[in-house]
Symmetry: C2
Subunit: 167 residues, 2 copies
Amino acid sequence: MFRVNRQTDYAVRVVLALAKKPKGTRVSTSEIGREMLIPRAMLQRIVATLASGGFIETQAGRDGGIALAHDPNQITLLQITEHFEGTLILSDCILKEGDCPFEHKCPVSCQWKRLRDLLRDEMARVTFEQLVEEGKQIEAELLQHASSKSVPVPVVRNLPVADNVPL
Amino acid sequence: MFRVNRQTDYAVRVVLALAKKPKGTRVSTSEIGREMLIPRAMLQRIVATLASGGFIETQAGRDGGIALAHDPNQITLLQITEHFEGTLILSDCILKEGDCPFEHKCPVSCQWKRLRDLLRDEMARVTFEQLVEEGKQIEAELLQHASSKSVPVPVVRNLPVADNVPL
DNA sequence: GAAATCCTTACAATGTCAGTAAACATTGAC
DNA sequence: GTCAATGTTTACTGACATTGTAAGGATTTC
């Protein structure tokens, strides 16, 4: 297949939930679990992993909880993803030097590498500040169209959508 | 993780091997297996899958073998990949309508969708004709530098490499 | 009919992932 | 100091996908 683990999805949701709140707001894990519909035990590991990556600050004990360690505009989708998935790789053949019997002679590995760099670059541009903003826009659109009959479709602004894929 | 199956990698190699040869050349599976270092039993399945996708034409019997069904410039990396992996998906949350409890309210799914479209678009631009050309360029560079001391590093021409990824 | 080839199916070994559970450590309120 | 609420860590299980092996069947040429 070709997709991020569910754990990573969950982690993104957690960071987004924190990014939505005023800076420094501390929230208990269980509260986030309720809000974001994440199984408790999974969430425990995710929180620990986020903390080990320095993305959140944790506070044990009564009234404890977690809070973002940085501004949402300093945290990118790439950072969270790679912290949970490891460095992005589209094909094993560029994983290790010498792992592929064709080494540098292979044009395919060059392309996989180029595509990976492209994807990484793009993911590095997506900050959680941006995601929060887009979330607000989407909610505004939903409210605006609430009484209309048409189904509201969210639009990501200022971002060209590539749909000119042949075949 | 985040990578294509080995089977897909193998399949790409098979198509590339065929694309390198003069149009219509028929090659036996076992020969490709030797050339591309693919386990025999795996290769059988891969060839069958390629045939079912209409990418190759097969001929049973003595002097049989496989040949490309189309020009290399009509076959893209995306086609082969999606035929073996299914439609590209970066995150499950955009897999099915109604599968994600947040539906369209979620800015994250919008981004995953945008990134996926970007990647698909880029992969659709990579044809096997291009891969063959790049392979020739790489070999030429290798020959040119064969007597020099520097380790030859292949360069993909006219393709910007995104390495300005922060952090 | 025999040999070479592609096609299909079943199966086992391995690894990954999602989720559960339980014990532990830390903190603040009383 | 004790207790309760919270985060931390580890072990385990079941489900599933992936890789690879093996065997038999179908097709074509000689």
